[in-house]
């Protein structure tokens, strides 16, 4: 017979094989072939084919159809059940490899799961509001010349209502006045209950809001009418959880009409109860007090002045359908011209941006840093890939051992697909086990990272998205880890592998293995270099000469709205405590995020008129020496400067302006046009209605964090302006117990002067460190990532070393017999790995260098990037790699050649 003989249609043959029970298949196929053959003779090809197809269709009877079950035949005779059994047996036999793979993949998947939960948590904020795309917040997009972004979300009270009346295109405009307060609950016949404020991320849980607020943010109402609940003054809408916290028991109907007292003085009654949102939101307000209460209470002064903006006053709008942002925004310049305010630039910030844009702060929501989230996702992926690489490397290395198995399988009729599938099943078993372990560990790990991961991130096994993620991760990991080894294994030619020449086939593949090791160590080295450099920059920022002294200085917050003279009493009393060397009343530490003067204009009418916008603080006479700052020209403030009246007396003419003595920093002196600091002394500076002479020039210091360049800065002095008391302790080397005793003394003095307000204090060096929270978190993440990456890579290396040492046992035996020593053998076995780590260093150095350089661009003052960092990282990686494989190589090299050579 030659190949020209017509055959039945292939698809029909395959279709029959697919649906037919295997035990019946052969007979049926034979019968159909016989008929086909017969029909071929009588009726011709096409008729025979047609009849064949019709018969195939007619065979689809219940007793012929195969039952869907695990025991389906897949490749030839091997069933899925058996493949699973083979897989488990193999995994059990190679305990070291299995352990390494399982541990590595568990770490990889665990990182992925934790980071996925964290990232998806952050991106879930405020996604659930109806018409979320039309909700915006009003902001002022300002950035001054020195890169300090001002708080552009703060508004003044009258903007919202005026906007509602005078502009078009908004379907709702609402002003939020947010606050935090303890609450009094009057209960009939019982003493008043005091409910404390909320602590944590979102402390501002109270907002004044009007009916428009309810048009923008929707609630499910349990009691009350959304149309009227926030109309009348002195009414409040509570969420269910808040009402329970206040009233403890009862139903929403019972709570209606009850009284709640805020700030000891604002009495409101409940007009509505709403259900708490069960989704993540930055608007975690639980008490909605009618905005009209604000206008009718002692708080009204805060909202009536166009020029008095507060960070707790925000305006939210909802665009009318069909209105574009541009259409809405183009009304703003005219709007502000009408009202004569300087905030001419006003923009709309989308709701989705609020959770991520750090430029616009408010006291109720939390910011997430998008680049960090993306970087985290990248890190998770890298770690997973590193773990998968271990799998690939160990599998291809061991494929030598499996060459015979594959050969026999092929001889027995297994297809390439069947072998790949067998291997993918082995991979799948490990990946699923790793996933199970990772899921078990997820919640404990999240709990352990609570400083870094916000509250509320948890693994919820009921969430369909989580399952989708789990499924995808398993699938993708199986494919990355199992596809190539399966492919490589199945490509062995049975003839060569059964003759025992599997090695030769594999040699070409070891380039891939080496490449993957290089990749693993490159990633590990990136993390090592990153960790070293971020640590170096943080160290630099905290330890470089900042222009002031930061040791043994404690700052105590002074409560606002208390008589000014008490500040002096506090200062004097604390000054007399033992262990206190010096005190100073001032508005901020030399380096702080909250300097007193923002946007102040200082004018100097010299040869030419110069106006600068310096930052600045009010200080007293003790400040400069307490913080160890150096005057380069002029003098310190006198007590007389502090005592002089700065604000012009009411009714005075411009001929009698307010007086304000000034100390500039060198940068400010230069900016005002003085070549020498001394030239500035005695020159009159004008700040609106206030003017005064420059009395001194202080050496430049870092008034902001290291992200910003040193900018023009000034100190002034004025009685009663202090917002904090800086205390210099005399003993830098005091024991912890002594410091605690001093603190306790200060607290008791404080409590005597300010009864009823909490004592809040902080060491200056610690608050400086808090300026770099972001960087410290970056450093922590890199540390953890570095640890995991190195750990997983080394485990892979360990497994490979064990395997190569094992493969070369006989070679080593012969070398030993011929006189090779242990050191030679160890170096022979280690050489390849050292070379690979060396190559990794060469690749990682420029990449890491570029990445670190880019990162450092965020800082105005950066540490150097010395070459030895890269060498150090390379050496560290090499030492770690050598230590990892040393156990294996030394064991192999010291083995007795008799044992290895005997059994040939």
């Amino acid at each position: 017979m030659n190949g020209k003989v017509p055959q039945p249609p292939k698809w029909a043959v395959r279709f029959l094989a697919w649906y037919c029970r295997p035990e019946l298949l052969e007979d049926l196929q034979g019968d159909l072939n016989e008929y086909f053959h017969r029909n071929l003779m009588i009726r011709g090809v096409s008729a025979a084919r047609l009849i064949y197809i019709i018969d195939v269709m007619k065979f689809t009877r219940s007793y012929i159809l195969r039952k869907p079950s695990l025991s389906n035949p897949l490749n030839g005779k091997v069933t899925m059940k058996k493949q699973l059994l083979f897989a488990l047996r193999r995994l059990g036999r190679h305990k070291l490899t299995t352990g390494i793979n399982l541990l590595g993949l568990t770490f990889g998947i665990l990182s992925c799961v934790v980071i996925y939960l964290y990232v998806s948590f952050e991106f879930s904020y405020d996604k659930f509001h109806a018409d979320a795309a039309r909700i915006y917040r009003l902001v002022v997009p300002t950035t001054n010349d020195y890169g300090i972004e001002s708080n552009g979300a703060m508004m003044s009270g009258p903007i919202g209502p005026a906007l509602r009346q005078e502009t078009t295109g908004f379907s709702a405009v609402t002003t939020l006045f947010t606050d935090d307060s303890h609450v009094l609950i009057p209960v009939a016949g019982q003493p008043v209950r005091v409910i404390p404020g909320i602590s944590g991320d979102q402390t501002y849980h109270i907002t004044f809001a009007d009916t428009d607020y309810l048009k923008i943010f929707h609630y499910q109402w349990l009691a009350g009418n959304p149309a009227t609940a926030l109309q009348k003054p002195f009414s409040v809408v509570l969420t269910q959880s808040e009402a329970k916290r206040y009233f403890q028991r009862g139903t929403p109907e019972d709570w209606m009409g009850r009284s709640v007292v805020y700030e000891d003085s604002l009495t409101v009654s409940v007009t509505g109860i709403v259900k708490d949102w069960d989704r993540n939101s930055d608007f975690g307000f639980k008490d909605l007090i009618s905005y009209s209460s604000l206008e009718n209470s002692f708080l009204k002064t805060y909202i009536q002045n166009w020029n008095m903006a507060g960070s707790n006053i925000n305006v939210y709008v909802k665009l009318a359908p069909g209105t574009t942002i541009a259409q809405a925004e183009q009304q703003f310049p005219a709007f502000f011209q009408r009202h004569g305010t300087k905030k001419a630039r006003l923009a709309l910030q989308p709701l989705a941006d609020i959770h991520f844009n750090a430029a616009y702060q408010d006291p109720y929501s939390r910011r997430a840093h998008k680049p960090t989230l993306f970087a985290l996702a990248g890190i998770a992926l890298f770690i997973l890939v590193i773990a998968a690489i271990n799998f690939i490397n160990l599998a291809t290395a061991q494929s030598v051992l499996r060459a015979k198995e594959v050969g026999i399988r092929k001889v027995m009729g297994s297809s390439i697909g069947g072998i790949v599938r067998q291997f993918l099943i082995e991979t799948g078993v490990i990946v699923v086990a790793a996933m199970a372990l990772a899921l078990l560990l997820t919640n404990p790990v999240i709990a352990a990272l609570h400083g870094f991961i916000p509250e509320g991130v948890r693994l919820h096994m009921t969430d369909p998205d989580t399952w989708l993620f789990i499924g995808t991760t398993i699938g993708v990991t199986c494919l990355i880890a199992g596809w190539y080894p399966g492919r490589a294994l199945s490509s062995f030619l049975p003839v060569t592998s059964l003759k025992g020449q599997g090695f030769r086939q594999l040699n070409s593949k070891s380039y891939l293995r080496k490449g993957l090791i290089v990749f693993q160590f490159t990633v590990s080295l990136l993390f090592i270099i990153g960790t070293l450099m971020v640590g170096r920059q943080i160290h630099y920022m905290l330890n470089t000469d900042l222009g002031f002294n930061k040791d043994a200085i404690l700052t105590i917050d002074i409560p606002r709205d208390q008589p000014n003279n008490r500040k002096d009493v506090l200062a004097a009393e604390i000054r007399h405590l033992t262990g206190v060397r010096q005190v100073s009343l001032n508005t901020a530490d030399p380096q702080s995020l909250q300097h007193e003067f923002l946007g102040m204009q200082l004018e100097y009418k010299g040869p030419t008129d110069v106006t600068i916008m310096p930052g600045g603080d009010f200080i007293d006479t003790g400040y400069l020496s307490l913080y160890g700052m150096t005057l380069v020209a002029g003098r310190n403030f006198y007590l007389a400067d502090t005592a002089r009246r700065a604000i012009p007396a009411s009714g005075s003419t411009p001929a009698q302006p307010g007086y304000q003595a000034i100390i500039l920093n060198e940068t400010a002196a230069r900016a005002l046009g003085f070549n020498q600091p001394a030239d500035a002394i005695g020159k009159q500076m004008i700040n609106g209605p206030i003017s005064g002479p420059v009395v001194g020039v202080v050496k430049d210091f870092h008034s902001d964090d290291m992200h910003a360049k040193i900018r023009p800065f000034l100190f002034s002095t004025q009685a009663g302006t202090g917002r904090q008391l800086s205390v210099k302790l005399s003993s830098a080397g005091a024991s912890a117990a002594e410091v605690r005793k001093m603190m306790a003394n200060m607290e008791s003095v404080y409590k005597k002067i300010y009864p009823g307000t909490p004592f809040q204090s902080q060491f200056f060096d610690q608050s400086l460190e808090q300026l770099y929270t972001q960087e410290r978190q970056t450093s922590q993440v890199l540390n953890i990532a570095m640890g995991i990456a190195i750990f997983i890579s080394c485990m892979g290396l360990f497994g490979l070393a064990a395997f190569t040492a094992n493969q070369r046992t006989r070679e080593i035996g012969i070398r030993k017999v011929l006189g090779a020593g242990v050191p030679q053998l160890v170096s022979m076995l280690s050489r390849e790995f050292v070379l690979l780590v060396g190559i990794s260093t060469l690749i990682a150095a420029p990449v890491a260098g570029w990445g670190v350089y880019e990162w450092l661009q965020h800082f105005a003052y950066r540490t150097s990037m010395p070459w030895w960092i890269f060498v150090l990282a390379g050496i560290a990686a090499m030492v770690i790699a050598l230590l990892t494989i040393s156990l294996q190589t030394i064991r192999a090299a010291t083995a007795n050649p008799v044992t290895s050579l005997r059994s040939e």
């Binding site: 017979m1 052969e26 007979d27 049926l28 196929q29 034979g30 019968d31 159909l32 072939n33 016989e34 008929y35 053959h37 017969r38 018969d55 007619k58 065979f59 009877r61 007793y63 012929i64």
Partner: protein, 111 residues
């Protein structure tokens, strides 16, 4: 389990298997039936009947030799089990008993 009652077609198939002795397989059974019973027997029908008979325990089967016309596939050869033989005999007995009760004349007239 279904009863051991033998349908008319099943009985024919069973007889054919017995008559073909050691070469009874699906296609041959179809051919034989078509030839002697003067009706076209479809392959699917034959298979269904064979399946039922095997389920009732009246026949047993094993795979035999392959041939080029079958594309290298082996045929399933059927043989009677003792139960099969017994049930064929019993149905023959029933018929014989009934046949003997018919007087010759009556039959001729009827036919």
């Amino acid at each position: 389990m279904k009863g051991t009652h033998l349908g008319e077609f099943e009985e024919l198939v069973l007889l054919t298997i017995a008559s073909l002795v050691n070469s009874a397989y699906s296609v041959a059974i179809c051919d034989e039936l078509s030839k002697h019973a003067d009706r076209t027997v479809k392959l699917g029908v034959a298979h269904a009947a064979l399946h039922r008979l095997e389920e009732k325990g009246l026949v047993k089967s094993e795979l035999g030799e392959a041939s080029p016309t079958r594309g290298g596939k082996r045929k399933r050869l059927y043989t009677l089990t003792s139960a099969g033989r017994a049930s064929l005999l019993r149905s023959k007995e029933i018929r014989d008993t009934l046949w003997q009760k018919i007087p010759n004349l009556t039959l001729n007239r009827v036919l």
